[in-house]
């Protein structure tokens, strides 16, 4: 019998709009990372340019969402679950915008690589990309569904991502040591891989904020502090 809607309907509308905008931004970031990786692997510079152009939308959304959050804080004095949602939005938006920038960086690497002859395919790169995209998707899903377990899976999944990145890094290093003519190109691939690893880190930030939003406990930086009991 718990009512879902606020007595003040406009507030409900505002919160829904905020959620929709966040999801729109999340969707654009997903598209950006997928596009930039495809541009890298399929050597499609046009697609890379398109991804870079679309980063403008992501940046615009960041500003809009920040504005909305500030407005809600000033005018609505939100409390409890509403407060957690809005402060989560403020933090998620930062991670999402950075993730957009990472996709742009990958696109830059793609454009660079396409000016040289192709380098040997690295399956691990594709796997790393797939994993990072999956982490983001799962984190966004956990946000929409308010699913703490899914968010925790994202947090746990970072180890695999790091391991994969390390392997790719070592492989690229070996590749460079074997043939010094590929160093420039291999370095670009390494940068791209690094962006993907950082992409995964941002997805974890997102998931940690989802845990806070739903449970009310802040689980960030477990090594630096005592995690409060949920």
């Amino acid at each position: 019998m718990a009512p879902e809607a606020h007595t003040d309907k406009i507030f409900d509308v505002e919160l829904t709009t905020l959620r929709d905008k966040l999801l729109e931004m999340g969707g654009k970031v997903e598209a950006a990372i997928a596009g930039s990786v495809r541009a890298l692997i399929e050597r499609d510079s046009a697609l890379a340019e398109k991804v870079k152009a679309q980063d403008r939308d992501i940046n615009r959304l960041e500003v809009e969402i920040d504005d909305m959050c500030r407005r809600l804080l000033a005018l609505r004095q939100p409390a409890a679950s509403d407060l957690r949602f809005i402060t989560t939005a403020l933090k998620i938006v930062v991670d999402l915008e950075r993730m957009g920038d990472l996709a742009v960086n990958i696109s830059d690497r793609a454009v660079q690589l396409n000016q040289s002859p192709p380098v040997k395919p690295f399956h691990d790169l594709v796997t790393l990309a797939d994993l990072s995209e999956a982490q983001l998707k799962k984190a966004l899903d956990s946000f929409v569904e308010k699913d703490v377990e899914k968010a925790e899976e994202v947090i746990q999944g970072d180890d695999l991502l790091d391991t994969l990145y390390q392997k790719l890094f070592n492989d690229l290093l070996t590749y460079m040591m074997e043939d010094s003519r590929v160093i420039r190109r291999a370095t670009n691939v390494m940068f791209a891989a690094k962006q993907l690893e950082r992409f995964g880190d941002h997805a974890i930030n997102l998931a940690e904020m989802v845990v806070y939003m739903v449970r009310g406990t802040d689980v960030r930086h477990p090594q630096s502090r005592d995690i409060p009991k949920p």
Partner: protein, 291 residues
């Protein structure tokens, strides 16, 4: 015991030595650890268990249990008719003034059961003072006489000038009225009248101060002054405040109790209630989904 003995046993020497009050810092205290009750180690000032209250057939309070630590502020929030005012009035047995009202349960003030027949409600009300929603100074008395009313009406003769000044200082009203102590109390503004009522309550040297929506009839500046006053009073008194205004409860209290339909739904540190309450119902009320 007579009022003289009663007051004499409770007038702590340090109250008198506080004059003149040092200038208060205008900034908020640097760290508010006391907000979560630094007094956890001490005995609770008020311990309520299984409190039930009826107005005739209407079961207004159902099985309420909570603990109020000393020198802290407990806010009671909830929608209209939830029983928070009834609860407040049980604490100084003012509910008995309504014909057909009765209360059962345990209500311990420093371990003494207030609801027992041995306790005289009149004596109790000198230990547990009350401030009401609308300022109600006695219209035929001056400012000075109003503040001293609690003492004079109980037969304590004498000028009480020291106590009057002390109470007015404690109520942050001294500077505004020190030149017009003998003027009629009705000539003060609404906010000043309310602080006068607070001074009047304080003059009897209570241990607990009950406030029933004390700022709801005041403008925002006067409200802010009263809230600031509550922060100061918290150092010496235990305060229970009923308020409709959730933001006020959030600003002013250390603990918050949420009442609904006569039941105590949840009680806890104010910060928790307003960021991450345990009960969904509390969350719904605090976010404005009902009430």
């Amino acid at each position: 015991m007579t009022l003289a003995q009663d007051v004499a046993t409770r007038v702590a020497p340090q109250h008198r030595d506080e004059r003149p009050a040092p200038p208060k810092p205008t900034v908020a205290p640097p760290n508010p650890p006391s907000r979560s009750g630094a007094a956890d180690e001490e005995q609770p000032k008020l311990r309520i268990s299984g409190l039930n209250a009826w107005y005739g057939q209407n079961h207004a309070l159902r099985d309420v249990s909570l603990v109020v630590p000393p020198r802290s502020v407990m806010a009671a929030i909830g929608p209209s008719g939830c029983g928070k005012s009834t609860f407040l009035r049980c604490l100084n047995r003012m509910h008995e003034l309504v014909p057909g009202a009765r209360a059962e349960g345990t209500l311990l003030l420093d371990g003494e059961d207030l609801l027992s027949r041995q306790v005289d409600p009149v004596v109790l009300r000198r230990r547990v003072g009350m401030v009401f929603q609308r300022p109600n100074p006695f219209p035929t008395m001056s400012v000075r006489e109003n503040v001293a009313a609690g003492l004079r009406l109980n037969g304590l003769r004498g000028s009480h000038d020291e106590i009057v000044e002390h109470a007015l200082r404690k109520a942050a009203l001294w500077d505004e009225v020190k030149d017009r102590l003998d003027a009629s109390a009705i000539g003060l503004s609404g906010g000043q009248q309310q602080r006068l009522c607070i001074a009047r309550a304080l003059a009897v040297q209570p241990e607990v101060l009950l406030m029933d929506e004390p700022a709801s009839a005041l403008d925002p500046i006067a409200t802010a002054k009263v809230e600031d006053l509550i922060h100061e009073l918290k150092e010496n008194y235990t305060i229970v405040i009923v308020t409709h205004n959730m933001q006020q409860a959030a600003r002013v209290s250390d603990q918050t109790a949420f009442f609904y339909m006569g039941e105590l739904v949840e009680v806890g540190p104010t910060e928790k209630i307003f960021t991450n309450p345990d009960k969904a119902q509390t969350n719904d009320y605090v976010t404005g989904k009902f009430g």
